[in-house]
Subunit: 208 residues, 2 copies
């Protein structure tokens, strides 16, 4: 394949994943047909199945692509500040569904919930989830270690273990926001995360 | 309807919900047909639709029934102890998927994840989720208030707000256990919850 064809194939691949993410977010995986995605990006269903063997595979690849975007953005933001407290704030802000208008994570979160349903009973999906989830915990643990090296966070409990707790807190609060934003608004989640992170990691948070 | 008929109808209703919970947990909502549930409890699909108007309705009712069992058990356990620390431990233990062999919550958790998918884009499901979720937060807040009245937990942040944080932590950790029990085992979740609750609520937890 020539370079132009390779680029075209890569663009096409990317377009299909974007369309898949949109359709799955709008309708839910159960109500999504390969033909809906094909229609949205103007290709044949056969071409989609040529790139991705199944709807489940398409979901995994779409979530991975959305997740890559998240980490690309996160690493860019984290490079801008050396303060671990600010890095942690930024990591949390980027994770709150619908907090940042210019960068909606509703789509990525919707794909996560769909993966949870599949992974409940599919070992291959469990593996896919594990890979994505370890990256999430690793990012949190890195910020914690950085904060200890700068003296912003006290030494104490194992950073990887704390990352499990912080990661779970963010996931659990995000579900609340996605489900029921009258009880837990994005701003409420942000504040709750900051306060809880202060207590879990052992630093003082200024009153709101 | 005579008393015997009413009882029969109630039993039938209950049997259908139990069968629905089992089939949805095994296959996932998307792969569940009303006829699968009908077959499992030996009734006609028509009778199921007579009691429950749709598959989604059946899911909500099945989760509500499983959730009622959880609270029945929880309130029985909480009555046995006056210590808020022990009550909190018990609340957490009962929530860890697969921790207590005699009482598996895998089923209830699987139904929760299915509700999350539906509620992402269905306002009626969001409402159903809200009702169930408020009961969960209320139970946690009640234990926190009790612990303050006994002096086991220090006064401080609003109990309802802390209940949001503790509830989110339990939900987020449960997802980890359900998805990936090699990284986060039920015992790991129990310990992580106890430690994190100690920090969030301000009491000392003995080292493992």
């Amino acid at each position: 394949m020539g370079r132009t064809n390779q680029k075209q194939a890569k663009d096409r691949h990317h377009e299909i994943l974007e369309a898949a993410a949109k359709v799955i977010t709008d309708r839910g995986l159960a109500e999504t047909r390969i033909s809906d995605i094909a229609e949205r990006c103007g290709v044949s269903p056969g071409l989609i199945l040529y790139y991705f063997e199944s709807k489940d595979r398409l979901l995994v690849e779409a979530l991975t692509a959305a997740n890559d975007q998240f980490y690309l953005r996160l690493s860019r933001e984290l490079r801008r500040t050396r303060s671990a407290r600010e890095q942690l704030d930024r990591l949390v802000e980027l994770s709150v569904p619908g907090l940042l208008p210019e960068y909606s994570f509703l789509e990525e979160w919707a794909l996560w919930v769909e993966i949870w349903v599949l992974a409940l009973r599919d070992p291959a999906m469990k593996k896919e989830h594990e890979v994505l989830n370890r990256r999430w915990r690793q990012s949190i643990a890195d910020v914690i270690r950085h904060g200890r090296s700068t003296g912003e966070f006290p030494e104490g409990q194992d950073a990887d273990e704390l990352a499990v707790q912080v990661g779970a807190l963010v996931d659990g609060l995000a579900i609340q926001v996605l489900m029921d934003s009258s009880d837990v608004t994005p701003e409420h989640m942000l504040r709750a995360c900051q306060e809880a992170c202060g207590k879990l990691l052992g630093f003082a948070v200024e009153p709101a």
